[in-house]
């Protein structure tokens, strides 16, 4: 089953889905239905560290929105 997500972040960067590069921020991309862990990779200038979401019932026109906040580099 196909689901669609959009990960929001002030800049474009790679999104990791379940620990693997799986898309880009601010662009809609497709994932399989189910539980997934989203993060923005090793450069930890974002919060929260990760988001665990059940992605289900989305449409290309109505993707799940997952937001990360930018924080100062540590």
């Amino acid at each position: 089953m196909d689901e669609y997500v959009k990960v929001l972040f002030p800049t474009q960067r790679q999104v990791r889905v379940d620990g693997e590069a799986g898309g880009f921020t601010n662009k809609i991309f497709q994932v399989e239905t189910g539980n997934h862990v989203f993060d923005l990779g090793p450069k930890k200038n974002y919060r929260p560290e990760q988001r665990e979401c059940m992605v289900k019932g989305t449409l290309p026109e109505k993707p799940m929105i997952i937001a990360f906040e930018r924080v100062d580099d540590e």
């Binding site: 693997e20 880009f24 239905t33 026109e61």
Partner: protein
């Protein structure tokens, strides 16, 4: 008078091997599978380790070769020949389409062509060369039976650690693959990535000869002979004994992928993903010391299940979906080469009950054909959904999708179609039939409207449907 039922060739072989070797049919286990000392994602035969200099992922071509003995091997061989003779333009430069193939996934008879091409590249096409002389035009079936009749092998078969499948493995080694192992594929790092598929007899699931499949059982694929993998993939039930490989779970610091834990909570939402995770977990059970393998066709007789998962899921190591999301793929081409036959039995002309062998044949082949049909439908469904999603949401990466099916049922002429569909499943076909299968594989590919659209794309800027593929 009723016509005597025709027994498919592979079943004649099955019966002979089963009858002659039945009492000595212990699960074969002549050769130990090497232990993997330490799990390391940067080693072993994996898609991401292949050289992408000459064959980038932007045009991503997947071939799926079905089972069907020499019929399937010759049919898929003809498709490879047509791809070799086809040029596509990439970045303004003409490129040979065969050189653009990224992955070949195969089962049973199709695995001979796949493995030989994966190992030796264009040497497979040498007229009168090893592949043609020792396999396509060779009576492999007679060789197998000869080996079984050899009294020397009776002694060996009496051992509980030597089964009939070992004889097949030895024969394929002698005829085709020599001492080649997966390390040879790792060394040349050349695409396509070959996926030789067998069936895990206990779990009933697909088992693919890639390092990522071997990781959870802490086994090293590198030194695994290609001939044994092909023997496992074409290990027709009853004709051969299951092929056993060692499993050493929990001994190599295997790191389970993150998705597995996530997917174990997916039973209500996505049972397919949940069971995929469960399956991977079973390979880590420390009391599982062996994996017994049967013909890849038992789990998937068209070699399409692995590519299907890769196209719709980010969970596999060579995920096509992730490559699309990362905008690495511009064109996705999936060519399914289906050598399915329809041998007429004549049973429905008589009230006489079909014999045991015919019943076994029906039980063994009918579910495979139905499952293959479902796989092809599923591929169409997945690719069309993606195409529809792209049309409704321009923010999604726009990949051109080409789905090409090559099968006998596409032959327009009734008599010719019936003749191809009636080709028996055997490792011994007449030369003229092999020639015809090669020609027909190439011809059907070239006749495909979608294939023509791929090699003669609409000029840039024509817009709309013209620039879309054919999902």
């Amino acid at each position: 008078m009723t016509r005597a039922p025709r027994v498919p060739g592979i079943f004649a072989l099955a019966f002979a091997l089963f009858a002659l070797g039945g009492c000595a049919g212990f699960a074969g286990f002549a050769e130990r599978t090497e232990h993997l000392d330490a799990y390391d994602e940067s080693r072993g035969y994996r898609y991401e380790r292949l050289d992408k200099t000459d064959n980038k992922d932007d045009l991503f071509v997947i071939l799926a070769f079905s089972g069907g003995g020499t019929r399937a091997a010759a049919f898929s061989y003809g498709v490879l020949e047509a791809l070799r003779d086809t040029t596509v333009e990439i970045d303004g430069k003409p490129r040979n389409l065969l050189g653009e193939v990224d992955v070949i996934s195969s089962v049973s008879g199709g695995s001979f062509t796949t493995a030989y091409y994966g190992l030796y590249g264009n040497d497979i096409f040498v007229e009168g060369g090893r592949f043609q002389k020792n396999f396509l035009y060779h009576d492999v079936q007679a060789d197998l039976i000869y080996k079984l009749f050899n009294p020397y092998n009776w002694v060996r078969l009496a051992s509980p650690v030597f089964g009939r499948i070992e004889l097949a493995s030895e024969l394929y080694q002698k005829l085709l693959f020599g001492d080649a192992t997966f390390q040879d594929l790792e060394r040349h790092r050349r695409k396509p990535f070959i996926m030789i598929n067998a069936t895990d007899m206990v779990k009933g699931s697909q088992f693919t000869f890639t390092q990522s499949q071997f990781d959870p059982i802490c086994a090293d694929l590198s030194r695994f002979p290609i001939a044994r993998a092909v023997a496992a993939s074409s290990n027709f039930p009853l004709a051969f004994s299951p092929l056993a490989i060692n499993s050493y779970p929990g001994t190599c610091s295997y790191a389970e992928p993150v998705w597995v834990q996530q997917a174990l909570g997916d039973l209500p939402a996505n049972p397919r993903r949940y069971y995929r995770a469960r399956m991977l977990r079973t390979y880590q059970e420390t009391d599982r010391r062996y994996v017994h393998l049967l013909d890849g066709g038992v789990a998937d007789n068209i070699g399409l299940r692995g590519p299907l998962t890769s196209i719709r899921s980010g969970d596999v190591d060579w995920s096509v979906l992730r490559k699309i999301n990362l905008e690495e793929i511009k064109k996705l081409v999936v060519i399914v080469v289906d050598a399915r036959n329809e041998v007429k039995s004549g049973f429905d002309k008589s009230p006489k009950a079909p014999g045991t062998l015919a019943v076994v044949n029906a039980i063994a082949t009918t579910p495979l054909d139905n499952y293959s049909f479902d796989s092809i439908e599923l591929l169409q469904d997945i690719l069309r959904r993606r195409d529809d999603a792209q049309r409704s949401q321009p923010d999604l990466h726009q990949v051109q999708i080409y789905r090409i099916y090559v099968g006998f049922d596409q032959i327009m002429d009734d008599a010719e179609r019936e003749a191809f569909l009636a080709t028996k499943t055997s490792f011994d076909l007449p030369r003229e039939r092999v020639d015809a299968l090669r020609r027909k594989g190439a011809e059907l590919l070239r006749q495909s409207a979608c294939f023509q659209k791929l090699i003669h794309p609409a000029p840039t800027g024509t817009g709309g449907a013209a620039t879309r593929g054919c999902p």
